[in-house]
């Protein structure tokens, strides 16, 4: 229990730090000085001590509850990842995150939040087929327990190097990419709708959200590394996560934000390709 709490603190710390690094790298690629890497920390701390209230137009209880739920599901996700639970639960949590995104936007009554929430539903279209990868992983490893998958990798080498699993890794990469800030698919928080679904959450609520997002980034990156490379010692895991994140920073820095429906179409095409691949592989195997 104590060790889990320590991991949780680490996840928050690393997640916020990586967000900062992400911003810094993007800024440098775009030849801007960019904020210091500790910026996200400072943000969160600052928000924690700001004046806080609930907007009059909001659905009061939900406005608060949704922040709590958001943090809770990702803590749960971290727990599943650490205990080597079922991969299916991890992905369920990933999808539940879409619901909280939706709820965040809806609960405030603000039109910007509403737009963000609607876009969150739109983008759900492309992220749901992610389950094709889960099915494919089951086909390859014969188990969906994360502990079994890492054991499989220890015996047979990383999944990333196997021909069957490579397209799944690509699809998964696209999915994780769509969850880091400033990504080309990030239509939910696009700047033309202010901050999208986060617009009305400020003060402590915003600090809570940032914490939740930090855990989310940590869990997703760690899951990606664990799934496709294998169980690594902590320091190696962190380095691998950072490398994955850096590749994403490059993509984020160099691509424009897509229009909402195009973002969905592109993601859906990528994942549709993977589904076809999985089906064909399944028939041949």
């Amino acid at each position: 229990m104590i060790s889990f709490l320590l991991y949780l603190l680490l996840a928050v710390f690393i997640g916020l730090l990586y967000h900062g690094i992400h911003r810094k790298v993007i800024a440098r690629i775009q030849t801007r000085p960019g904020p210091p890497v500790w910026q996200e920390f400072l943000h969160t701390l600052k928000f924690s001590f700001k004046q806080t209230w609930i907007p009059m137009t909001a659905s009061q209880l939900m406005f608060v509850a949704i922040v709590v739920i958001m943090i809770a599901i990702w803590v749960g996700g971290l727990y599943v990842l650490l205990t080597g639970g079922s991969l299916l639960i991890l992905f369920a949590i990933f999808l539940l995150h879409k619901i909280t995104e939706h709820g965040l936007g809806l609960s405030s009554g603000s039109p910007y939040g509403k737009f963000g929430a609607i876009r969150s539903v739109i983008s759900a279209a492309s992220e749901i087929p992610l389950f094709a990868t889960v099915g494919a992983i089951y086909m390859v490893t014969g188990s969906l327990m994360i502990s079994d998958i890492t054991a499989y990798e220890a015996a047979n080498g990383p999944l990333l190097l196997s021909v069957i699993a490579l397209p799944m890794a690509i699809a998964m990469y696209v999915i994780v990419l769509s969850k880091v800030p400033y990504n080309p698919f990030g239509i939910i928080e696009a700047k033309e709708i202010v901050s999208g679904n986060k617009t009305e959450h400020f003060g402590v609520w915003r600090a809570g959200l940032e914490t939740g997002f930090a855990i989310k980034t940590f869990v997703l990156l760690a899951a990606f590394v664990t799934l496709f490379i294998g169980a690594l010692p902590l320091w190696l895991l962190l380095i691998a996560m950072l490398i994955v994140l850096l590749t994403m920073s490059f993509i984020c820095a160099l691509t424009p934000m897509l229009s909402p429906y195009d973002a969905v179409t592109i993601q859906a095409l990528i994942i549709g390709f993977v589904v076809v691949y999985v089906v064909i592989a399944g028939v041949i195997l």
Binding site: G109, V134, Y138
Partner: protein, 222 residues
């Protein structure tokens, strides 16, 4: 007898509740989904709807939309039924029961927005409704084909490796749930969530995603 033949997918069974041939069960996976559905149903019961802010174009004016009391009660009723159906749907251990609950989720989802007096929302709700209705064919069709080819409806029996379910039934089941809950079919669903009444409208998304998560588990285990 009530043990999953392949616990490495969703974990060991924690508890089960028998209702005759239909047995509900909790595995770690279904428990997570159940708790989530429960949370959002509680939210729908407890929280008041938000007052959606609309900007009047051509000026600085804005106004908030209030939901009439009667309509709010109706929406809440629909959202709660939807939540109950979802809670049952994610824990059921019977394929036909699952399809029935999915159909119920579909009709409740339409009900949540049916009371909104907005032509755009109603148009989309109608499209959704048509989709939900023709979605019952793949849904029940899949259940019937499974029954005919395997001779059982219980998920435990179907999950055993000895029982092979035809690909067409699996695919029809998935597409049926997609049609009912409209999980990835996004257009109309995104548009109907423009309706005011956040805790209830959110239920549309919650229920359809949870049903989809459940069907994924069923498909992988089959």
């Amino acid at each position: 007898m009530y043990n999953l033949p392949s616990p490495q997918i969703e974990g060991e069974i924690l508890a089960y509740i028998p209702f005759g041939d239909i047995v509900y069960y909790f595995s770690p996976y279904t428990l997570v989904l159940f708790i989530f559905a429960l949370t959002f149903t509680a939210l729908a019961i407890l929280s008041r709807p938000e007052k959606q802010v609309d900007i009047a174009f051509g000026g600085d004016a804005y106004y908030t939309k209030e939901i009439p009391e009667k309509q709010m009660r109706f929406q809440r009723f629909m959202a709660i039924s939807c939540g109950l159906a979802t809670m049952a749907g994610v824990t059921t251990g019977d394929i036909f029961n699952f399809t029935l609950l999915t159909a119920m989720v579909g009709i409740c989802n339409i009900g949540i927005v049916a009371s909104v007096k907005n032509k755009h929302v109603l148009d989309n709700a109608y499209e959704y409704g048509i989709l939900a209705m023709i979605g019952t064919l793949p849904l029940f069709g899949a259940a019937a084909i499974i029954l005919a080819t395997t001779g059982t409806l219980s998920l435990w029996e179907i999950f055993t490796p000895a029982v092979s379910v035809p690909v067409i039934a699996k695919a029809l089941l998935v597409i049926g749930v997609i049609g009912e809950g409209m999980a990835p079919v996004y257009v109309a669903k995104a548009e109907i969530t423009r309706a005011p009444g956040a805790p209830y409208v959110l239920m549309i998304h919650v229920s359809s995603l949870l049903m989809f998560l459940r069907v994924v588990e069923i498909i992988i285990s089959m």
